[in-house]
């Protein structure tokens, strides 16, 4: 009879029953399976993929990756150990015909204390670097200095404002392509125009959510010159999948030159088609000016959509989802809802909703020429 909480002498039990009768081939098989599994695990990490977190190039992403590997190996150890014991148990103790009832073991205090303490120790080992990394990543090494960039997320694009430390009228507003100098601390202030978003550059820094009425901050640093992909990581509506951006890490000199030229007014078009395009842009049929700013234009001062002063220079359009080619720009202007479903230009601008305002192919050609000229 078994009495609740009684401890039948299980220690004896475990020592007498554990002589493994595993055949050599079984043991080999399990070993091979585990190796294949771990091998798959490791080869499946592709640092070359554009958003792979295994190719960390900044201190924030790198510390997150280091922490990941610490936990991964702890987890892999536990995985192999526990799954190994499980597989061993089900092979070793399968019923054989004529088996009597096994000994009715109810517990083993020492064993139970052991498997309470061991995981606790592993977890403490994981918790310590976790807490250190949390604080390191939360606190910018240079919170007031460095480059300050305001990120304003909107359905479904990003506005970047480079704050001029001396004169706020000289702030630079741009969109969807974040240029930063290499090896510098960049302090980023996050805000949202509408719903929740999340700012994420997998190779440079883990994500921080963008929440209206809740300003968030993060710091990043790029340590490798190049182009890195970012993507919104919090569900934000119909075209959430298409809310992407690029981070261009460049040398300090290149960055300074970029910043200076971005601050300049737009180039005035000189060829007739582009001039016609500008007229359409600032005209009352298309009314592009109502939502977009082009610096230097008297009319185009809109604040709703991205600043287009130097849109011709950007490598991509529509928040990083299409290369900035003539054809893609044409497709975008012709039918924005197909390129990015639900975007407010397509759903709210009169030009796309009132048949009388619809642009002709020729008008679109002119607009494309004008926008491409905005270098």
């Amino acid at each position: 009879m078994s009495v609740p909480c009684a401890r039948v002498t299980a220690e004896k039990e475990t020592t007498t029953n554990t002589m493994p009768k595993f055949s050599r081939s079984n043991r080999k098989l399990i070993g091979v399976l585990l190796l294949v599994f771990l091998g798959t695990l490791l080869t499946a990490c592709y640092p070359d993929n554009p958003q792979s977190t295994f190719d960390a190039t900044g201190p924030v992403a790198r510390s997150q990756l280091t922490l990941f590997w610490i936990i991964f190996w702890a987890a892999a150890f536990v995985f192999v150990l526990v799954e190994g014991i499980l597989v061993y148990t089900i092979i070793r103790y399968r019923a054989k015909p004529g088996d009597p009832d096994p000994h009715q073991t109810h517990g083993n205090t020492r064993l139970e204390i052991g498997w309470t303490v061991l995981p606790a120790v592993i977890l403490i080992a994981v918790a310590i670097p976790t807490v250190f990394t949390i604080f390191d990543n939360a606190n910018s090494p240079d919170p007031d200095g460095g480059l300050q960039v305001d990120v304003l997320a909107a359905q479904w694009w990003w506005e970047f404002t480079y704050r001029d430390p001396a004169d706020s009228t000289k702030d630079l507003i741009t969109a969807n392509e974040l240029h930063i100098p290499v090896d510098e601390v960049i302090n980023i202030n996050l805000d949202s125009k509408d719903v929740l978003h999340s700012f994420w550059i997998p190779k440079i820094a883990g994500k921080v959510d963008v929440i209206p009425n809740n300003k968030n901050h993060l710091w990043i640093m790029g340590q490798e010159i190049g182009e890195f992909l970012g993507q919104c990581a919090e569900f934000c509506g119909v075209a959430h999948a298409l809310m992407r951006f690029r981070v261009i890490v460049e040398s300090q000199a290149e960055f300074d030159a970029w910043l200076e030229s971005e601050k300049q007014n737009a180039i005035e078009p000189i060829d007739p088609l582009a001039m016609q395009g500008k007229a359409i842009f600032e005209g009352n049929q298309a009314q592009c000016w109502a939502c977009h700013t082009v610096k230097g234009s008297q009319k185009a001062r809109g604040q709703v959509g991205p600043d287009l002063t130097h849109v011709g220079r950007r490598t991509h359009i529509a928040a990083g989802i299409r290369e900035n080619t003539q054809q893609n720009l044409r497709d975008w202007i012709t039918d924005p809802d197909t390129v990015k479903p639900g975007n407010i230009m397509a759903t709210q601008a009169q030009v796309y909703n009132d048949p009388n305002s619809k642009l002709s192919d020729a008008q679109i050609s002119a607009l494309v020429r004008y926008l491409q000229g905005l270098k």
């Binding site: 909480c5 936990i71 799954e83 148990t89 096994p102 064993l111 977890l123 994981v126 949390i134 959430h240």
Partner: protein, 623 residues
Amino acid sequence: MTTLSIPLPKRPTHPTGVWDWVTTIDHKKIGILYGVTAFIMFVTGGIEALVMRAQLASPEAALVSPEVFNQLFTMHATTMIFLGVMPMGAAFFNYIIPLQIGARDVAFPRLNAFSFWTFLAGALILKLSWFMGGAPNAGWFGYAPITGLAYNPGHGIDFWVLSLQVLGIASLAAAFNFVVTIINMRAPGMTLMRMPLFTWMTLITAFLIILAFPVITVALIELLFDRFYETNFFVTTAGANPLLWQHLFWIFGHPEVYILILPAMGIVSEILPTFAKKPLFGYPVIVLSGIIIGFLGWMVWSHHMFTVGLGPVANSVFAITTMAIAVPTGIKIFSWIATMWGGSLIFKTPMLFSIGFIALFIVGGLSGVMHSSAASDAQQQDTYFVVAHLHYVLFGGAIFAIFGGIYYWFPKMFGRFLNERMGQINFWLMFIGMNLTFFPMHFLGLDGMPRRIYTYAEGMGWDFWNIISTVGSFTLALGILVFIVNFIKSVRSGEIAGADPWDGRTLEWSIPSPPPVYNFAQIPIVHDRDAWWAQKREGIPAVPVAGSSEDEHDIHLPQASYWPLVTSIGLFIGAYGLLFTIDIAGISRVPVVAVIGGAITMVGIVAWALEPVNEPDESPEHY
């Protein structure tokens, strides 16, 4: 007291047929109703998942529109959590708990029927939204402010809110019922520490439901007021802080995870000892671990919010509390393995699913520990890595245990076995399919694929593992198809199972299969944790020989009733009715239909209150 003389319609007295099922208050029939309904819902949620997997099989696919895709993932998760896994757990609570504790029914049989019909009402409100202008599209978590009118003018979110409210009523009613049943209706001698583990986990789950659902109810009422009556709880343009929703949601949402998994752990803790022919190893510690998990479950909600900017102190605290949950969970896993250690293991289908549960839950648990490390989680949050994690826990965990439970208790419910050969095929298809579907998602997440995207560009390096995952999902579906065929065939013509087909250990195996309406001819007297095993092996009589002292024709059972159903129908009409308003006599937007629904509910409740538990004169269900 004077007798009230309100004329009530006669009690339903249909021993068989549709009316019997509609008015039944027999916990076993209600359990079957729950199980079948939940399984149908589970299949619809599965179809939603398959459409998503088909869309994601290749980059830039256009099988469904982005809007439909967003509805699909919202409906998939809401369905699986509230209409699939939770009520499948409820099916087992209903059918098994009274049998395990030696009772003839639950404490409040009519309330039990009400829980089921109200659950069905909530399920219909949610699923019918597909045909009523569009399903909800903001995720099962419904983060503000995208659920607000400004960003979501359609009715999808309204259906979602109303459905969850109605489902909450069903869950709360059921939870109170099971707390009272388990505490008060145990057979003599069944102390708390002699309760079967499944009963224990059900008790903890019921307490979690009672404490968690009021929180989501409050959040949903606020959202409902925002949408229907222009309040500003979550309207950011009026200054609201949308984090309020996230806190409320996850204070409910994390205990909800344990509401889903604890019954599964209970099921596995019943199956393993039976097929190992050994008692559960470390029973008191497993019970304690369940209780600790229940408590800790309230202290970890912010790990769903590691990236919202709560600051390093909060993130550190929640990282550590989350890691702490791994300790009691680990204890359970080790105890299950130790239960098998030294046993005589028989690999029938229920056992395969239980071992599968352990193997897969370990993976889900370990990836959970990875997430708990807040700093490194910043790379994993809202990526496919989380999708992999949660499916290892909820599919590899909860669903595998539920399938194990179905194979295990099916002979008790229907007196027949599910076909064992098909069962084995079913298990292996699901096991392989599950790993093919969800393991690659770990790689996808770490390679930077966010969740909830309806498409992805070429050249991201995500193509290969996505197609593998899609192949896996259809393998999984094939496994479930095999189960459906097996179920339909076996219900009619499966091999006859006796009262105790698995050489069980607990009281439900001491009575015939399927059990008579009254369950136990005589209430057993419990002397041991594994009461039935002790009687069989050691001759300690728990179950008095039938008919020895108590004549079974004297057993009084509660009788069928229309009123739980009427009350639920009123709730269904009332909830839907909030969407239909008209202007009457200068008062704008009067919800006339809702008022009618409310009136029906009130009539149901009053009639229910006036109806005696048993008609004293006529007693058709005397045995």
